[in-house]
Amino acid sequence: MTGQRSITAYAFLLFPLGILLVFTLVPTVIGLWLGFFAWDGGTDPTWVGTKNFTDLADDAKFGPALRNTLVYVAASVPPTVLIGFLLAVAAQAEWFRGRVIVRTLFFLPTILSIVAIGYVWRWLLEPDAGLLNWGLRLVGFANPPDWLNDQAWALPSIIAVSVWRGVGFCMVIYLASLATINRSLFEAAEMDGATPAQVLRHITWPQVAPTTAFLLITGVIGALQVFDIVFVMTGQAEGDATSVLNLYIYRLFTYGQLGYAAAVGVVIFAITLLATAVQLLWAGRDRSSRRAAA
């Protein structure tokens, strides 16, 4: 009986796990392994040991890509999560009017492809005919920058668009989380004379800590892989000002430097694991220290 059910289970799993095995798991193992080879895709791969990685250390294109990726992660994820939290708190308040329409509008960019969003924003950020610079001139900035072609402004512009796109997703997740907080906590705080700011800081924010951890971890993993928005907004240019790791991998792939591209993939994987481990530890410590205090 149990044996037969086992066979049923394997039959259920055969196709789904087969797909994961063939198209994800095995390629991952080989892909990490490939980082230690030189390969152009044609002839047999040549084992080069750690040469790819020592080359990366001296690679003038890798440094900026790594730095921009880390800047992108650090400058886009925390503001997105924080603004999403504040929006959710505002929209969830009993006195707030128009919650559904506001949520729908903020969520809209989440379903649009990032490519489409980058495309539309390129036109908004156009230096002469763009809407943003028109608005800036209206309020008194005589010479607003050429956002995407200015070395200093290109990456910040991309980060700003990413934050703009991401807040709605965080808001929706936080709204669901806020709805589960026990109301009596707020009532008790009010009776004790807490100000709204105190309630926000000492009750609401700690209560949604697991959601914040979830959004930060998934946000950082996603941001480390940033590609689409950079590709469409500035990626056609060869410059380093907005190069990111995945754009560099893509370029190496199109140049046929497959082993070297795989080595950059290994670096991204290592950073992802490291960032996730640090955040999990931090979230865990945060929780246990709060339990100890309670």
Binding site: L13, L25, T28, A90, W95, F106, T110, E190, F253, G265
Partner: protein
């Protein structure tokens, strides 16, 4: 239960003002795209003024020009076929695997589930080179199979469906088994109706993911024949089809606006699915 005290009127007004302003910025880019699509080239190239925000006389011909410049209908068809086939098959597979992990006992369950979860952790950039080679060997290069087959199961989908299947009462499943129902029938007639909302949410997720997927199609698609909408938008953006901004924006409107209309219909299922995925620890 008493109502909580509301903050002062001024603060409430300020909060409304800020939130509504933010919400409006979500629409402005789309509105600006549509307005530009209706302008003449010279009109669009000028710095905007209050009087030229709206097109002087709407040029609907820009849309015709956009359709003539690029095979927009072909790109639509490719995206639709890829997304529909992926969604139907992937949701079915993920549901089957989720049911097995939640409700069946078998050797190696923990290991297999662990491996499934592990696939969620790996960025596609780590494995796409090998997956590309696998697809080439299978004869999938530059055709629809390459856009569909690798996505017919996903770590996230299996995990999501296992969570949903956990909620199906064991007593119902035991009763079905005692009545002599085969396991697949139990899955189909007992579990499936109960987890229907989760199936719909996962379906919407999968559809949107497939529809918007960019990096992988960029790798495997070489020709106009197999191009999907995001690839077409990127090429438009690089000025491949037309130079004129209004015609580019007309093409963008044709590519983007229908998805917004669909979104307004399915947003409840989508929002519910998103919210649910964030709450599970």
């Amino acid at each position: 239960m008493s109502a909580l005290r509301a903050p002062p009127l001024l603060l409430r007004a300020l909060v409304h003002l800020i939130v509504y302003f933010g919400a409006a910025t979500m629409l402005v880019p789309l509105a600006w795209m549509v307005l530009t699509a209706l302008k003449s080239e010279s009109e669009a190239a000028l710095a905007p003024t209050w009087s030229t925000l709206l097109p002087s006389s709407p040029r609907w011909g820009n849309f015709l020009e956009a359709v003539r410049a690029a095979d927009l209908d072909r790109f639509y068809l490719n995206s639709t076929i890829a997304a529909v086939v992926t969604t139907v098959l992937a949701v079915s597979h993920n549901a089957l695997a989720g049911y097995a992990f939640a409700k069946l006992r078998f050797a190696g369950k923990r290991v297999l589930f662990g491996l499934t979860l592990a696939t969620m952790m790996v960025p596609i950039q780590v494995y796409f080179i090998i997956t590309y080679i696998v697809c080439a060997r299978l004869g999938f290069s530059d055709n629809i199979q390459a856009l569909v087959v690798p996505f017919l199961a996903s770590g996230f989908g299996v995990f999501y469906m296992r969570q949903a299947m956990e909620a199906v009462p064991d007593s119902l499943i035991e009763a079905a088994r005692i009545d002599g129902m085969r396991e697949f029938d139990t899955f189909w007639y007992v579990a499936r109706p109960i987890v229907w909302p989760a199936l719909v949410s996962l379906g919407v997720f999968t559809f949107v993911f497939s529809w918007n997927n960019f990096f992988w199609p960029l790798i495997v698609v070489d020709s106009e024949r197999s191009k999907t909408l995001p690839l077409a938008i990127a090429d438009l953006s690089a000025g491949q089809y037309v130079d004129s901004w209004p015609v580019q924006m007309a093409a963008g409107t044709i590519l983007i606006v229908p998805l917004i209309v669909v979104f307004l219909f399915v947003q409840r299922a989508f929002v519910r699915g998103v919210a649910g995925s964030g709450l599970k620890e």
